[in-house]
Each structure stands twice: as structure tokens, then as C-alpha cells.
């Protein structure tokens, strides 16, 4: 049995079936991400004064990923436009760039995740002194922690590239640029002085939990979108010869989803990286 309205629009709505379907799906997606944004607002506003971290993420990597997604958005729409102009070769070229962008985005995101899993906060025993660059030693005050990337760890010592965090000083940091101005150095701590150390995974604090939830869900959408676009571009491309209009509609629908993924990132980037 042939499915009606896969190519020609219905007379009452002026739309083919899949167009209605994708917009209904995107409407549900708006509510899904809306609920998570709402959670983010409540968690952030409800955080104790000075408790919300700033400058934990690399802004330049986030900006690069934003530009990568914007490039992929223009190539998706240009791919669709190429099909409308009956230029299948250009369509293939534009969508291959889209797929490369998707892989680049996921690669950069993976690097960022790895960076957070190697970023540690170290709590030390009372009256601990640490060894700094150039052989200087510094006695930590009660409540101080060491924060930074793990360089080396053995049975005697832990070496962190970062800085000493005083809770009262940390509470004064309200913008990412303030965190970026903090000088980092190699800090060596005796293993016997380490009370507890924890990486910046989703378990570390509320900010990291919502960061991994939002970006993880977004990355799953990137993977899903790339798989669909990849299928239409590769194994499913035969339809262009038999049903070109239907094939163009498929490209359009996958493109709408891809633009939505870009749209979500446009809001995630400033919210998570800059504010």
C-alpha cells in the first residue's frame, strides 16, 4: 500500500506528512530542553552565594564548536537548495562537509569531557604544606583546596597544574574572565597529606551535573542527526534516481532537525561557558 502525501502536500494543510511530523517532534524537543533549562535556572538561582563556579570550561573550544555547528547548518541548507536546483553533486559535497562538522563537534566535545575527567579538586589534611614552582613551599589555610589538572600521581606525591583555592576568595569570583586571570602553577602535594580528591565529572557539583546532562543530551542529538544525514547521503541516496521529490523532502526533514540541534547549542554555549 502506498503511503499518501509523502511528496505532494495535503490540500487542507498544504504540507506533506513528514513536515507535520518533524515539527510536532521538534515541539516536544523544545519542551524537553525547556525542562532542562528550567532546572538549570532553578539550580543556579538556588545556589549559595559564591557557590556557582565560573570559568571552568574552555571558552575558545566552546566558540569553535559553535562555529562548527553554524558551518554545518549552512551546508545542510545549501545541500537542500542544491537538490532543489537538481545538482546532486553539490548536494553530496555539502552534506559531506556537514558530516565532517558533526564528527569535529563530537571530537572537540570528547576532548572537553576528557579535560574535565582529568581536572581535580584536592582536599588536604590540616596543616599541610605544598611545594610550588621554583621550590617554594606554601602552608595551606584551613578550608583551602588545590584545584587543577592532574599531571602526575604516584605512591608518594600528586602533582597538579592549577592553583590553591581559598573558599572566601573563590566566592568573590562572579565572572569567567576573573577565573581566567588566575595564575596557574605546578603544585606538588605529598600523598600522605591528601585527604580526598575528586575529578570534575558529573558527580563533582551541581554545575557539572547540569553541564554533563545538557551537553550529553545535545551530543546524543548530534549523533542521531549525523546518523540520519549520513544514511540519506550514503546508503539511502538511491532514492534520488527513483523518487527525487521524496528524497529532497527527506533531506529537508533531516535538515530541520539539524537546525534545531544548532539552535539548542546557540543557547547552551553562553549559558554554560560564558555566564
Amino acid at each position: 500500500m502506498e503511503i499518501p502525501y509523502t511528496v505532494e502536500p495535503r490540500q487542507d494543510t498544504g504540507l506533506f506528512n513528514a513536515k507535520v511530523g518533524i515539527w510536532l517532534f521538534l515541539a516536544s524537543e523544545v519542551m524537553l530542553f525547556g525542562a532542562l533549562f528550567s532546572s538549570y535556572i532553578l539550580l543556579r538561582v538556588g545556589a549559595d552565594a559564591g557557590a556557582w563556579p565560573h570559568g571552568l570550561l574552555n571558552v575558545w573550544l566552546g566558540m569553535t564548536n559553535t562555529i562548527v555547528l553554524i558551518v554545518s547548518s549552512i551546508t545542510v541548507v545549501m545541500a537542500w537548495a542544491s537538490l532543489k536546483m537538481k545538482d546532486f553533486g553539490k548536494f553530496k559535497m555539502y552534506q559531506s562537509i556537514t558530516l565532517i562538522c558533526a564528527l569535529a563537534f563530537l571530537g572537540i566535545k570528547s576532548y572537553e569531557y576528557h579535560d574535565k575527567f582529568s581536572h581535580y579538586q584536592v582536599w588536604v589534611n590540616p596543616a599541610t604544606s605544598v611545594l610550588l614552582d621554583e621550590g617554594k613551599t606554601e602552608a595551606l589555610k584551613p578550608g583551602d583546596t588545590v584545584d587543577g589538572h592532574l599531571i602526575e600521581q604516584d605512591k608518594d606525591k600528586v602533582v597538579i597544574h592549577g592553583h590553591i583555592v581559598n573558599p572566601e576568595e573563590a566566592a568573590k569570583v562572579t565572572h569567567g574572565w576573573q577565573e581566567a586571570e588566575i595564575k596557574l602553577e605546578e603544585i606538588t602535594i605529598k600523598k600522605s597529606d591528601v585527604k580526598y580528591m575528586e575529578s570534575y565529572g558529573p558527580w563533582h557539583n551541581t554545575y557539572m551535573a547540569i553541564y554533563f546532562t545538557l551537553t550529553g543530551l545535545h551530543a546524543l542529538h548530534v549523533i542521531g542527526g549525523a546518523l540520519v544525514i549520513g544514511f540519506i547521503w550514503g546508503p539511502g541516496a538511491g532514492m534520488w534516481k527513483t523518487e527525487p521529490e521524496r528524497y529532497t523532502n527527506r533531506v529537508e526533514i533531516s535538515g530541520l532537525f539539524w537546525h534545531f540541534v544548532d539552535l539548542v547549542w546557540i543557547f547552551l554555549f553562553p549559558v554554560l561557558y560564558l555566564l
Binding site: W23, L42, S73, I74, K84, G176, F267, L275
Partner: protein, 113 residues
């Protein structure tokens, strides 16, 4: 993307797509530069970043997703979405007000007496 597009329309639209693309790149760079300004007011920092994000979002939805020239049914779906999304955000903001009912405890709330 409107279904009535033909080849000539598309050629005309391609210039618009490229303009939106450049605007999105510029918007992204401006967002990062604005965040580097030493603005003390957190509210102003948030307002600037979200205002630029809203403009970029409008460009993607309006031009890449062709919402500025869509059919009425799509607008109907989106109106319903906006209604519920606005309701969700209203509840979020309302719940942050410590005078709202959800923050009253059983002893102080007249509702329970």
C-alpha cells in the same frame, strides 16, 4: 521550508542564507568578546549574552528553518509550543519568588489552617 519553492526562488534565497551565516559567525564572536568585557553587573552580562543568543536563534529558525514563510499549521504547532514553554518558564520564575505558595510551610500558610 515552504513547499512552493522552485529553482529560481532557491537561487534568490541562497544569498540570504549566506548573509545569515555571516551574521551568526559575527554574533558568536561578539558574544565571546562581550563576555570578556569587565562588566560587574551579572544581570547585564546575562542580558547581553541572551539577547545575542535570541537574535541568532531567530536567524536560524526564521531563515534556515524557513519559519518566516511557513504554512499556518506549522505556526499553530509552534504557538502551542510557545504557550507551554512560556508557562514552564513562568512557573520557574514564579517558584523563585519566596512569597509564592510553594515556599510556605504548613505552620505559616493560611491555606492549611
Amino acid at each position: 521550508m515552504s513547499d512552493s519553492h522552485n529553482s529560481a526562488d532557491i537561487k534568490a534565497h541562497v544569498k540570504g542564507y549566506l548573509f545569515v551565516f555571516y551574521a551568526l559567525i559575527v554574533g558568536t564572536i561578539v558574544t565571546v568578546l562581550a563576555s570578556r568585557l569587565h562588566i560587574d553587573s551579572v544581570a547585564l552580562t546575562v542580558a547581553i549574552a541572551l539577547a545575542i543568543a535570541c537574535v541568532k536563534g531567530f536567524l536560524v529558525a526564521g531563515y534556515f528553518m524557513h519559519l518566516i514563510s511557513e504554512k499556518k499549521m506549522i505556526y499553530g504547532i509552534l504557538l502551542a509550543t510557545i504557550f507551554f514553554f512560556a508557562g514552564l518558564m513562568f512557573l520557574t520564575v514564579w517558584s523563585m519568588n519566596h512569597d509564592s505558595l510553594i515556599h510556605m510551610n504548613r505552620e505559616s500558610a493560611t491555606y492549611f489552617k
